[in-house]
C-alpha cells in the first residue's frame, strides 16, 4: 500500500508522479468494487469515472490534513454527485482520515460510511450531499465564506453530467460567476451516462463548455483519466482571476474494467461475486 505521512498533504502541488497516481487509482477502483459488491449496493460506474480526478485532488493538489480534518487552512472538496462516494471514502481512508477497515462499513447499519456522504458521520466530508444539484451551491457558499475571511483556501467540487440537468446547478453557476469566485474550481465528471442511458438522449446538457462560458466561467476541457491533463488543468485554475473555473473532464463510466466501461447498467448496480473476481483480476489483484 502506498502511504504518506499526514504532513505530506499540507502543501499544495506535491511532487508525485503519474505512475504513483495511477497505482493509487487502481487500488481505489478495487476498493470501490469490493465495497459495493460486499453490500450488493451502491454506484460503482460513476465512482470509477471520478476516481482519477479525486485521487489527483487529494494526492497532488489540495492542501489538507488527514490528522486534523477541520484544519483551518485546508482546501475543501465537495462531492456534489454524492452517490459516487465509494471513490471518496477510499481516498479518505488511504490518505489517513480513517482506517481502511472502515470501508467494510459502507452502507451498513451502524456504519460510519453512509450510502451518500454524511458530514456528521464521516471525517473529511465537508458537506452532506446525495440529492443532486445541491452540493455545488454549498461549494459556492464555502468559497464566498472563505473570501469573506480573506483565506487563501480553495474549494473544489465535482458534479455529474446528469446532475447538470438540475436547475439549481445553474443557479449556483450564476452566483459563482456573479461573486467572482476565483477560489472555486468545479469539475464536471462527463462520462455521458446516467441511469436511463446516454446524457444526450435522456436530456442533453450540451454544448456544456459553451454554457459555462456564457455563465462567465473559465472553462477547460480535459481527458479525465490523463493525470498530466488533470494536474495541468488544476494548476491553470490557480492562475485564473475573478472567475470560477469549470473543468469539463471527459471520462468513461466504469473506467478500468473492460466489461464495465461505458455501460449505463453499472450506474447503480454492484458486481456479483464471480464478476468481481474477474474485475479485480483486470485491475491486477492476485485472486
Amino acid at each position: 500500500m502506498i502511504t504518506f505521512e499526514p504532513s505530506f498533504f499540507t502543501e499544495r502541488n506535491r511532487d508525485i508522479d503519474d505512475v504513483t497516481l495511477r497505482a493509487i487509482a487502481r487500488e481505489v477502483r478495487k476498493d470501490i468494487l469490493k465495497m459495493t459488491s460486499e453490500v450488493q449496493s451502491g454506484h460503482p460506474g460513476g465512482a470509477m469515472s471520478a476516481t482519477d480526478i479525486i485521487v489527483t485532488l487529494y494526492y497532488y493538489k489540495m492542501r489538507h490534513n488527514p490528522e486534523n480534518p477541520k484544519w483551518e487552512k485546508r482546501d475543501r472538496f465537495v462531492l456534489s454527485k454524492g452517490h459516487v462516494c465509494p471513490a471518496l471514502y477510499s481516498v479518505l481512508a488511504r490518505t489517513g482520515y480513517f482506517p481502511l477497515e472502515k470501508l467494510h462499513e459502507f452502507r451498513k447499519i451502524d456504519g460510519s460510511l453512509q450510502g451518500h456522504p454524511d458530514m456528521k458521520k464521516t471525517p473529511g466530508i465537508e458537506i452532506s450531499t446525495g440529492s443532486l444539484g445541491h452540493g455545488i451551491g454549498a461549494a459556492v457558499g464555502m468559497a464566498m465564506g472563505l473570501k469573506l475571511d480573506k483565506s487563501d483556501s480553495k474549494v473544489y467540487c465535482m458534479i455529474g453530467d446528469g446532475e447538470a440537468q438540475e436547475g439549481s446547478v445553474w443557479e449556483a453557476s450564476m452566483a459563482a460567476s456573479h461573486y467572482n469566485l476565483d477560489n472555486l474550481v468545479v469539475i464536471l465528471d462527463n462520462n455521458n451516462l446516467q441511469i436511463d442511458g446516454p446524457v444526450d438522449e435522456v436530456m442533453s446538457i450540451y454544448p456544456a463548455m459553451e454554457k459555462w462560458k456564457a455563465f462567465g466561467w473559465h472553462v477547460i476541457e480535459i481527458n479525465g483519466h490523463d493525470f498530466k491533463e488533470i494536474r495541468e488543468a488544476l494548476d491553470e485554475a490557480d492562475r485564473v482571476r475573478y472567475k470560477p473555473t469549470m473543468i469539463v473532464a471527459k471520462t468513461v463510466k466504469g473506467k478500468g474494467v473492460s466489461f464495465m466501461e461505458n455501460r449505463a447498467e453499472w450506474h447503480g448496480k454492484a458486481l456479483p461475486p464471480e464478476l468481481l473476481k474477474e474485475a479485480l483480476k483486470e485491475l491486477g489483484e492476485l485472486v
Partner: protein
C-alpha cells in the same frame, strides 16, 4: 392595541446583531426591501448577499457558508423559502444540522392582495416535518426581536415565520421568550386556547367576550411549534378538559396538528382546530381576509363553544 411590524423588528435586530458580531451574514432573494434585510444590506454591504430569484441556491449557499463559521440569516417570502427551496433546506441545512437561520416574511393569509400564489398557509407544516429544524411563529415585534437574538446564538437550523401585515403588540419589556416554551397569558377553567402569530391577540379578545358570557378560557401563546411544549399543553388540558388551537395557517400540519399529536398520545380531550380548512387563499386586504376565513375572535369563540358542547356531552 398598537399595531407593529414584525419584519421591521427583524431588520432592525439584524443590524444590531451585525454590529455586535461579524459572523452574522444575511442572504436574500431579491426581496430585501420587503423582508427588511435591506437595512442590514445598507449597514454591512460586505456581509449581505443578494442571491437573485434563486431560493434553492440561496439555501445551499447559506449552508456552505455556515460551514466556514458564519451565522447566516436567510430571508425571502415564506412560500418560496419553505416551498420552492424545501429540499435544499432538508438536504443541505437540516440533514447536516447546520446553523442557518431561515427567517421568512409574508407568511399566512395576511399577505393580502397578492393572493393564493404568495400566501404561505403550509410553511409551518413544510418546516416542521424536517428533522433538526425548529419552528417559531412570533406574535409581535417585542417577541420577534427576542426570537431573532435567541436563534442567532443557538446552534442548528431554525425557521421563523413573520408577516407582511402589522399585528397588535401584546408583549411588553417583561416578556421573556424561550425556545420550546409556551406562555399562559390568561388563566382559565373551561377551555384551553392555544395560538401563535396574530391569532394570539384574537385569543385575548375572545377571552374577554367569553368571560362576559361566563365562559373561562385559558390562553396559551405557543410561539415554538417545534419543539412543542408538551408539558404545558398536557397540564392545561388536564385542567380544562378541552382545547382549541388557532393559527394563521392550514389546519393540516401546523400548530393544530402539533397540539393534536401531543394530546392524542398523552391526554386525549375534545379538541377543535381553527385555521384555513385545506384551501388556498385569495386576494383581498390582509385584515379582510382574516375575517373572511374567520381567523379572528369570532372564529375562536365559535370553536370554543363547539368544543365545550363536545366536552359536556
Amino acid at each position: 392595541m398598537e399595531k407593529v411590524s414584525l419584519r421591521d423588528a427583524y431588520g432592525e435586530t439584524l443590524v444590531e446583531l451585525g454590529k455586535e458580531d461579524d459572523r452574522i451574514v444575511v442572504f436574500d432573494a431579491d426581496l430585501s426591501g420587503s423582508t427588511k434585510t435591506a437595512k442590514f444590506a445598507k449597514a454591512f454591504p460586505e456581509r449581505f448577499f443578494n442571491m437573485g430569484i434563486a431560493e434553492t441556491d440561496m439555501m445551499n449557499v447559506a449552508a456552505g457558508m455556515a460551514t466556514t463559521g458564519k451565522i447566516p440569516f436567510v430571508s425571502t417570502f415564506a412560500i418560496f423559502g419553505t416551498g420552492r427551496a424545501w429540499e435544499a433546506v432538508r438536504q443541505t441545512i437540516c440533514y447536516p444540522n447546520l446553523s442557518v437561520k431561515i427567517v421568512c416574511t409574508h407568511g399566512g393569509i395576511t399577505v393580502g392582495e397578492d393572493g393564493a400564489s404568495h400566501q404561505a398557509l403550509e410553511d409551518v407544516a413544510n418546516m416542521r416535518n424536517i428533522p433538526n429544524m425548529r419552528v417559531i411563529v412570533p406574535a409581535d415585534d417585542v417577541e420577534t426581536r427576542q426570537v431573532i437574538r435567541k436563534i442567532a446564538y443557538t446552534e442548528g437550523p431554525f425557521y421563523v415565520r413573520l408577516t407582511r401585515e402589522k399585528f397588535p403588540r401584546i408583549f411588553d419589556e417583561n416578556y421573556k421568550f424561550e425556545i420550546g416554551k409556551g406562555h399562559v397569558l390568561r388563566e382559565g377553567e373551561d377551555v384551553t386556547v392555544i395560538s401563535n402569530g396574530v391569532m394570539t391577540s384574537f385569543a385575548l379578545y375572545a377571552a374577554d367576550i367569553l368571560e362576559r358570557e361566563g365562559i373561562s378560557i385559558e390562553v396559551i401563546h405557543m410561539p415554538t411549534v417545534k419543539p412543542i411544549d408538551t408539558e404545558l399543553i398536557v397540564k392545561s388540558a388536564s385542567k380544562t378538559g378541552a382545547v382549541v388551537t388557532a393559527e394563521e395557517h392550514s389546519i393540516i400540519g401546523g400548530l393544530g396538528s402539533a397540539v393534536a399529536e401531543v394530546l392524542v398520545e398523552n391526554y386525549p380531550v375534545p379538541m377543535e382546530r381553527l385555521g384555513t380548512p385545506d384551501v388556498f387563499g385569495r386576494s383581498g386586504k390582509g385584515w379582510e381576509l382574516l375575517h373572511y376565513f374567520k381567523l379572528d375572535e369570532k372564529g375562536i369563540v365559535e370553536k370554543v363553544k363547539k368544543v365545550l358542547e363536545r366536552k359536556e356531552r
